[in-house]
């Protein structure tokens, strides 16, 4: 029997024609030559100069052949692994994946509804909820712990995530040398530096500063990560109209120039080390100067730069699914759902941002469970229309008869799970009466209930006690000189 005609489409969204991608890259190369890129780390500058870049002070003019060489060695795909060493996040594989947004400074207090400074205990709670939700392929170091000294904050939050999770982790350092101890910690978890390089569990966000600047912080992180062969994820943030051209396409050019420079620095230090074409751009709202993460143009910037990254053969990352709203209200659902959907349609490999309120300042476990529903919807859409039966409808309609006995067809039971997404009770599909009988729970109330259920069902993933002790010793040794409390905030909660 020959294959029947009529293949469904995989839905996708593109904003740039191929010739426009070429023009964007041409201008990005032009910017790398003039005005060049500011690179504020002496070793990175020396590497660039040694490779043939023209250096004047901190200004580096990068010729196209250096870019071409870097793009030739940068891998087009790589995986992040879970604690067992199994691939769990696949960059460059054509799979869209999601993780919570990072580095909130507040959490939405579930009891009071207030935005309050986040603590280590809050991170433990967030990690548990994200661990329980299959929507999240990776964890993130989702907040800054206000009760942990800033000097050890980056290492410490990674430690707390490692204690509570077996998933891959999106993280980042807070200082130029910050990745060093964090890589040491990850190596303990992985069973050594070689094991970590072979099967990395974490990716580090590394940020250029707009416009066209790699600070000592960003450049140093790139070098150290490339040498450790731990994946780096460039998070370029052109702010259209403020720190980048107001045109979306102009901001995408700036993004490309910053990231191309980053790839060059990174690949000079570690040819073949994994690096991701990522970002967290936004427009600038001309009424107030704020940078809205829920704006549709912000999503469009992500779609466009991701298309450029893919054209270069690099793995991609985006920052979508966040909102500028302050509570789990209609705006939060609207902006987050649209962002997740647009990012998914754009085929971005890893999309960060879930759980975030207030323009990435506030993280919320309740929003994580709501966003998981939007992510599931986006994934369902990507799954497209399937053709699992020999006839599309004829056999089922004949079998069901005029009485419409579709529910009794074995095909219905066999196929409905593949055809239909079953949302969690966060999504209300009850009758009005049932909803009234439940006390009229709104989204926030339903999300709170779901968070409590997930927390109750959470079981801490196995962690070798010797490894845990070694990680604890490392964190204590690095942290106590910075003023870290000896009782290690959040650890009691993580072990409970």
């Amino acid at each position: 029997m020959s294959a029947l005609p009529g293949a469904p489409l995989r839905p996708s969204l593109r904003l740039l024609g191929d010739d426009l991608v070429g023009r964007i890259l041409d201008e990005a190369h032009e910017l790398l030559r003039d005005p060049g890129v500011r690179v504020q780390d002496p070793e990175a500058v020396a590497l660039l100069a040694g490779a043939g870049a023209e250096v004047a002070g901190e200004v580096v003019r990068i010729p196209a052949r250096l870019v071409a060489a870097a793009l030739a060695t940068a891998p087009g795909s790589f995986d992040l692994h879970d604690r067992s060493g199994a691939p769990a996040v696949r960059y460059g594989a054509g799979v869209v994946q999601f993780d919570p947004g990072s580095s909130g400074v507040n959490v939405l207090d579930p009891a009071t509804g207030d935005h309050r400074p986040s603590t280590a205990d809050d991170l433990v709670r967030l990690v548990r909820v994200a661990e329980m939700l299959p929507a999240y392929d990776a964890q993130s170091t989702a907040i800054v712990c206000g009760d942990v000294p800033a000097g050890v904050g980056d290492l410490y939050r990674l430690f707390l995530v490692l204690l509570g999770s077996a998933k891959p982790i999106v993280t980042g350092a807070f200082s130029p040398r910050g990745t060093t101890a964090m890589v040491d910690l990850l190596a303990l978890d992985a069973g050594g530096r070689e094991a970590l390089a072979a099967r990395p569990r974490a990716v580090f966000d590394v940020c250029p500063s707009p416009p066209l600047t790699w600070t000592e912080f960003g450049a140093r992180n790139l070098l150290d990560l490339a040498r450790a062969r731990v994946p780096a994820e460039m998070v370029s943030m052109p702010l259209a109209g403020g720190a980048a051209p107001v045109t979306l396409v102009g901001s995408v050019v700036q993004h490309a120039a910053e990231c191309l420079a980053g790839v060059v620095i990174h690949q000079l230090a570690g040819p073949g080390a994994p690096i991701v074409w990522g970002g967290a751009p936004s427009i600038v709202d001309m009424r107030t100067g704020v940078t809205p993460m829920g704006a549709i143009e912000t999503a469009m910037l992500d779609v466009a730069y991701a298309q450029v990254g893919r054209a270069l053969g690099l793995p991609t990352h985006g920052y979508l699914g966040a909102t500028d709203g302050k509570v789990l209200d209609a705006q939060a659902g609207l902006e987050s759902g649209i962002g997740a959907l647009v990012g998914a349609l754009a085929g971005i490999d890893l999309i960060s941002g879930a759980g975030m309120l207030d323009s990435l300042r506030c993280q919320s476990a309740e929003k994580l469970v709501l966003d998981a529903e939007g992510i599931a919807m986006a994934r369902r859409l990507l799954g497209g229309v399937a053709t699992p039966t020999a006839t599309l409808a004829t056999a089922m309609i004949r079998a069901a008869g005029p009485e419409a006995r579709f529910l009794e067809q074995p095909e219905t039971r066999r196929l409905f799970r593949g055809e239909q997404l079953l949302p969690s009770p966060v999504i209300d599909r009850a009758s009005l009466r049932a909803w009234e009988d439940e006390g009229r729970p709104d989204t926030r109330a339903r999300a709170r209930e779901r968070v409590e259920e997930l927390l109750a069902a959470y079981r801490r993933p196995a962690l070798d006690p010797g490894v845990e002790a070694a990680m604890t010793d490392l964190v204590r040794a690095v942290g106590v000189p910075h003023g870290l409390a000896a009782d290690l905030p959040g650890v009691a909660a993580a072990r409970a």
Binding site: R405, L407, R413
Partner: protein, 220 residues
């Protein structure tokens, strides 16, 4: 040895495998298992299991319908044996059920009918777009204890009131109980039109039917 047979019966219902259910019923007859015992200890536990799974959200409408269909096939096989043995299966009650005139929605009605039937009620399903006259005639013919009236539309649910009036006019009320259901139906609507009860869902309809029959017996 009967345990294996009961397990096969339970399994057939849980799997929604009508052929296996019929085969298990035939095997029970061949093995000399009394039909009532096969129903109560073999097939019904499977039905209860599926019902519980559905109520808990672990199983879904197709599981329920297929299980009910498998149960029905088993009952069809066992029925002649019951008659041969002159044993009447204790019927929980006789129900006439249908979707009211002008309305052709039947998913909810079918589900309620299936569940009532597998819960020991004798169910006469009149289908969709059923006139008041047909309801009245069916109630008289089958000596029904309960009439179930389904309506999905706000425009057709007024038909529930008409049918209750017709039952009244035929002198069948109040001994014949009326339960109403459907998306727009509320408890307030049920009281307003003089129905004896409504349920939010199919599982609740079975409980309601049991209550109504109990109340009917107590009144007699």
């Amino acid at each position: 040895m009967n345990d294996t047979a009961f397990e096969a019966m339970r399994r057939a219902v849980v799997d929604g495998d009508a052929d296996a259910a019929a085969a298990a019923a035939s095997a029970a007859i061949a093995a000399g298992i009394p039909p009532l015992v096969a129903i109560d200890e073999g097939f019904m536990p499977g039905m209860k299991e599926v019902g519980a799974g559905f109520a808990a959200g672990d199983l879904f409408l197709p599981d329920m319908m297929l299980a009910a269909r498998a149960m029905q096939r088993a009952l069809n096989v066992l029925e002649p044996e019951l008659q041969k043995a002159a044993v009447e299966r204790a019927v929980a009650g006789r129900v006439v059920i249908g979707t009211v005139a002008g309305d052709i929605h039947e998913i909810g009605k079918n589900l309620v009918g299936m569940l009532l039937s597998t819960s020991g009620f004798e169910v006469h399903d009149l289908g969709v777009n059923v006139s008041p006259e047909r309801f009245v005639a069916a109630v008289q013919e089958h000596r029904a204890d309960i009439v179930g009236l389904s309506a999905l539309l706000t425009t057709t649910m007024t038909g529930q009131r008409t049918i209750i009036a017709a039952l009244q006019a035929a002198g069948l009320r109040p001994p014949v109980k009326v339960m109403v259901g459907g998306a727009p139906v509320t408890g307030a609507w049920a009281s307003e039109i003089g129905a004896d009860g409504y349920s939010e869902d199919a599982m609740g309809a079975v409980e309601l039917a049991k209550r109504l029959v109990g109340a009917g017996e107590a009144a007699r």
